[in-house]
């Protein structure tokens, strides 16, 4: 059976190391994921926090991120490569573009979900805007912020497989090799590895989410956590209007 053959391929020590081994490709995959996520966080978190805190520029950013979501990553990558040549940064760029919308949506909707009265009272007792952001809004929004990051991470991990098509490596190479040699076992093994990596990353982030959420709000967060992974709604719903215009 294909699944078992693929598992056998994965556990075979001969396939672990070496130039085309699982381990180096896994490390590369993690590198692409980490870099892209880092870039996406650097842009997405501040933007999401700013619009969430001030409520300004909300429609514009939501519209932009919504249209980002409809961008075919694969086409965008090939387009950029025609100008830059092969390399790591085009990949990191398009994966970050992919990851920014859910991160912004998570940060924005996280802040948006914080009770206005809580913020108002924090301001009324004399917190500065930064203190409100740092001590009230972010801690309370953390479940949704992390939800956005989780969603972004999953998408990056799954999509980073296209690295294998453009001269890089990563776990996507197993898919491309499986495709090139028409070898379902290798392709299947690649699929399993990527899915396993995604699930592991998701589990890890879920754990982090649990740990960082203060007990005082954990009850509410259980629900918001679930929702957040799919919390693309506002981004999409208004997003496409701009691309239409």
């Amino acid at each position: 059976m294909l699944f078992l053959e693929a598992l056998a391929f994965i556990v075979d020590p001969a396939n672990l190391l070496g130039e085309k081994g699982i381990l180096p490709r896994l490390v590369d995959h993690l590198l692409y994921t980490g870099l892209s996520l880092g870039v996406a966080l650097l842009i997405g978190i501040p933007v999401g926090l700013i619009i969430g805190h001030t409520g300004k520029g909300k429609n514009l950013v939501i519209a932009l991120t919504g249209s980002f979501r409809a961008l075919p990553t694969f086409g965008l990558l090939l387009f950029i490569i025609l100008f830059t040549g092969l390399g790591l940064w085009p990949l990191v760029f398009v994966l970050a573009v992919l990851a920014i919308p859910p991160i912004i949506a998570g940060a924005y909707s996280g802040l948006d979900s914080v009770n206005r009265e809580t913020i108002d009272s924090a301001r009324a007792i004399g917190m500065t805007e930064w203190q409100i952001l740092g001590k009230v809004e972010i801690p309370l929004a953390l479940p949704l912020i992390l939800g956005g990051i989780r969603s972004a991470t999953l998408q990056i991990i799954a999509t980073a497989t296209i690295a294998g098509y453009v001269g890089l490596t990563g776990l996507g190479r197993f898919l491309i090799e499986g495709l090139a040699y028409h070898d379902y076992t290798i392709a299947f093994a690649g699929a399993i590895l990527v899915a396993a990596l995604a699930l592991a990353a998701d589990g890890l982030l879920a754990l982090v989410q649990k740990l960082v959420v203060p007990p005082g709000v954990s009850r509410g967060s259980a629900r918001t956590t679930h929702r957040s992974r799919w919390n693309f709604r506002p981004a999409v719903s208004t997003g496409t209007h701009i691309t239409g215009g």
């Binding site: 294909l2 919504g66 249209s67 979501r69 409809a70 961008l71 075919p72 990553t73 694969f74 086409g75 965008l76 090939l78 387009f79 490569i81 025609l82 100008f83 999953l154 991990i157 799954a158 999509t159 497989t161 296209i162 098509y165 996507g172 898919l175 499986g178 495709l179 379902y184 392709a187 299947f188 690649g190 699929a191 990527v194 899915a195 995604a198 699930l199 998701d202 679930h226 929702r227 992974r229 799919w230 693309f232 709604r233 506002p234 999409v236 719903s237 496409t240 691309t243 239409g244």
Partner: protein, 224 residues
Amino acid sequence: MQWLWENRDLVFGLSLEHVRLSVIPIIGGFIACIPLGWLANRFRMTRAIQLTIFGILFTIPSLALFVTLPSVLGTKILNPINVVVALTIYAIAIMVRGAADAFASVPRDVIESANAVGFSSASRFWTVEFPLAGPVLLANLRVVSVTTVSLLSVGALVGNGALGYLFINGYQRDFPTEIMIGIVFTLVIAVVFDQILVLIGRILMPWARRPRRSPRALMVRGAA
């Protein structure tokens, strides 16, 4: 522009194919999610199982599904059904949680009052629960629609990418314009689909014309 005009037949044909290949997963995913979402909302157990299964399916890269599905389904390699099935799986994976949420968003008291006035459980579902879950279902469907249209192009790597063909072809001929046209037409299709869904929502759910209105407001109108 010149190129687009000279190749309008090709681009138009690929766009048509793009529409065809992505419509089926969108509709199929939606239809599949109605019973799944209802079940998930009704029985906690099935919810957990469904969410786990589709959570895992969602983590499988689209390319991997495109490549391996023929061996699982026993279909021909170039059969577009492989891509369609793969995208349908993603559509369900994205929608199933949203659908459960949608049915969960129907207020309990509305269901109970429907029971009280004597709806059978089937007619209650179609006349009360389904319409009231509509706005949330629609919101999820719009995500599915955008995602499907954009994901389909990866199918070009297995010979079934519709507009994705322009990406590969443009790339190999060192011709960014062709790729850009592929991207733009993909976006256009995504927008058109989205607007169609919005329109359908407006026609079918006039009470929800203001998006994200409170469930209570829906309840009052919907129950009336």
